[in-house]
């Protein structure tokens, strides 16, 4: 049997999914990060089914017990099971940044597309507004906004979205400046499409890859910002629980050796943020072959 006949004939066209899997297998870090996000998401979604305890059930008998076969991650002052609490907290920790990122993405993409396509004074006004928002450090801006608006869940979503919107506007505006000069933009104009359709149907889809990458990275950043707000008492407050707020509760026990109370929530924040960032990096490599192997 000849060598050529022995080698398997690879199909000329790989499906996008198959190619993604091939690349993922060569990037164990990205694969691990995706696994973390999936595991945390599933735990959050199914918390009511798989959590070992009611997160709010108190039990003075086991108060402040360290990790044990009974309470895997220990209990707090009221005897609440920390693992169960972390699982329920994950709902807020994922949903709030997700809602914020999604709304920021939608608004930022539209406004950025408008600025980039319309140009001239529209662009000037939008970009000056963007710069004035970006002039504040994101966390300081978020603190100011929640302090001013009050820290309901809706306001926290709004706050996180506001800190993100300018980033998307700038990103999409830049992409739009590039693609609006492309010949297919000219061709779309030449067949009599109205401007809104050229922007939304013909140009915006060509701007999506960097947007997805940015959104994934922003998920991690929004989670971190929310945790920081909660840690400072400006975000989620008891009885709602969230990892940043749990870390803040636990910090008080640092001096008395109940380490599990701040280490586990802090660890959840860390690995989740890290996972989102790594997935963002992986996506960038996948969507932009020029960046393959480059680490910023």
């Amino acid at each position: 049997m000849t060598e050529a006949a022995a080698s398997p004939v690879s199909p000329a066209v790989h499906s996008r999914g198959a190619e993604a899997w091939r690349i993922l297998r060569r990037n164990p870090v990205t694969l691990a990060a995706i696994t973390i996000i999936v595991v945390v998401s599933v735990a959050a979604a199914l918390a009511s089914l798989i959590a070992p305890f009611d997160p709010n059930a108190t039990d003075p008998a086991v108060a402040l017990s360290p990790p044990s076969p009974h309470n895997w991650l220990g209990t707090d002052l009221y005897g609440r099971d920390q693992l169960s609490r972390l699982m329920y907290a994950a709902r807020l920790d994922l949903l709030i940044p997700f809602a914020a990122t999604l709304s920021a993405l939608a608004i930022g993409a539209l406004v950025g597309a408008l600025a980039g396509y319309a140009g001239r004074w529209v662009d000037q006004i939008i970009m000056r507004a963007v710069e004035s928002v970006l002039a504040f450090p994101a966390l300081v801006l978020a603190m100011g906004l929640t302090a001013a608006l009050g820290n309901s869940i809706g306001n926290i979503v709004l706050t996180l979205a506001i800190t993100q919107i300018p980033i998307y506007i700038r990103l999409i505006r830049g992409e739009m400046l590039r693609v609006r000069e492309m010949e297919y933009a000219e061709a779309a104009r030449a067949v009599g499409n109205p401007a809104w359709r050229i922007v939304l149907v013909h140009l915006l889809p060509n701007c999506i890859p960097p947007l997805i990458v940015q959104a994934t990275l922003a998920m991690g950043f929004a989670l971190l910002t929310m945790a920081a707000l909660s840690f400072l008492g400006l975000g989620i407050r008891p009885p709602d629980s969230e990892w940043g707020e749990m870390t803040a509760e636990g910090v008080g026990y640092m001096v008395t050796d109940e380490w599990w109370l701040f280490v586990f929530p802090g660890l959840m924040i860390m690995i989740s943020v890290l996972a989102f960032n790594l997935v963002g990096d992986g996506l960038r490599d996948f969507l932009d072959p020029r960046m393959r192997g480059v680490r910023s």
Partner: protein
């Protein structure tokens, strides 16, 4: 009445270094079924002229003066919504590079079916079927499979056929083909030109064929208009233009065609298209002309008839004719 009549078209671009008149006082007209070759070097204003007809000139460029009367309407002053109804419907454009003119993230089928929805008001499913027919009409085999593919999956020739199919989708009265054969190999280029020629005969549509290849012009066009540095220097019927070119620039262009049947040295045209920034008030070819006269640098020559369907803008030709008369 001509299908389209362009008079005194002037297009200006504002640049950091000052205004540039990319097209200056261009006149020409086209009858139905006629194929006009618009010829000139890169930067001579061919594409800008074409884009002006579709009113696709965007800031910093604008049409300063002139009229473009198409089927009795002046496109220069028509409101944008009315122009949009003409674009792609009555006047269609085959863009310069077919591969980049197709949107990379939308299937061929969506792009072509969209035209039938836009201009014929068809339902999506009917438009899709018409799309398949349109691709078959330009000789694309396996059209229904092509419809579901993306531009990067097609060859250059197929992309160009798709662009032509899209341009023909609404049976336009005027087709503007901007260098439709650039970057295609010779046999495919010949087939694309055949396609255009057939179309002109079959539908009586007029075609403006923009090219810098006089070979293409000789094969395809009925009339030729030669542009240099934004000005129309000579226009006339094909055989007159090829046999008795009057303008020194046209003569030079024809001498620079490689000939297989005659053993003569190729003559490149000296110099390049002059900068249009602070363009001279006179003839813009004066700097490259073999026999410039004093008047050439100061006074712009006007296009005047020197024969039936043959006009030229050149002081030397005018002087010669005055002497003979």
């Amino acid at each position: 009445m001509s299908l389209i009549d362009i008079r005194g078209l002037t297009v200006q671009f504002t640049t950091d270094a000052g205004p540039v008149e990319a097209v200056h006082g261009v006149d020409f007209s086209l009858e139905p079924g006629e194929i006009l070759g618009l010829v000139g070097e890169s930067g001579s204003g061919k594409t800008v002229t074409a884009f002006s007809i579709l009113r696709l000139i965007r800031p910093p460029g604008r049409i300063v003066t002139g009229s473009i009367v198409f089927e009795g309407q002046d496109l220069v002053i028509l409101p944008e919504s009315a122009v949009r109804a003409i674009r792609g419907a009555k006047i269609a454009l085959v863009p310069q590079s077919p591969r980049t003119a197709l949107n990379p993230v939308i299937t061929i089928g969506r792009q072509i079916a969209r035209l039938f929805e836009l201009h014929a008001g068809m339902a999506p499913s009917a438009a899709w079927c018409r799309g398949i027919e349109a691709l078959e009409a330009v000789g694309i085999p396996d059209a229904s499979r092509r419809m579901r593919q993306y531009a990067h999956q097609l060859s250059g020739g197929t992309c160009q056929r798709v662009m032509i199919a899209m341009a023909l989708a609404s049976a336009p009265r005027l087709l503007i083909a901007d260098e439709p054969t650039t970057g295609l190999d010779v046999s495919i280029a010949a087939r694309i030109l055949d396609l255009l020629r057939d179309l002109g005969q079959r539908t009586d549509a007029a075609i403006i064929l923009i090219t810098h290849d006089l070979g293409v012009v000789a094969e395809t066009c009925h009339r030729v208009a030669v542009m240099h540095a934004g000005q129309l220097v000579e226009t006339g019927a094909l055989d007159v233009m090829l046999r008795k070119p009057a303008h020194p620039y046209t003569q030079a262009l024809i001498r620079s065609i490689p000939r297989i049947d005659r053993d003569i040295a190729l003559e490149p045209i000296p110099g390049s298209v002059p900068s249009l920034l602070r363009a001279s008030p006179g003839c813009r070819y004066a700097g490259r002309c073999p026999h410039p006269m004093a008047i050439c640098t100061n006074v712009k020559p006007t296009l005047s008839a020197i024969g039936s369907d043959h006009s030229v803008a050149c002081h030397a030709v005018e002087a010669q004719r005055a002497n003979v008369a």
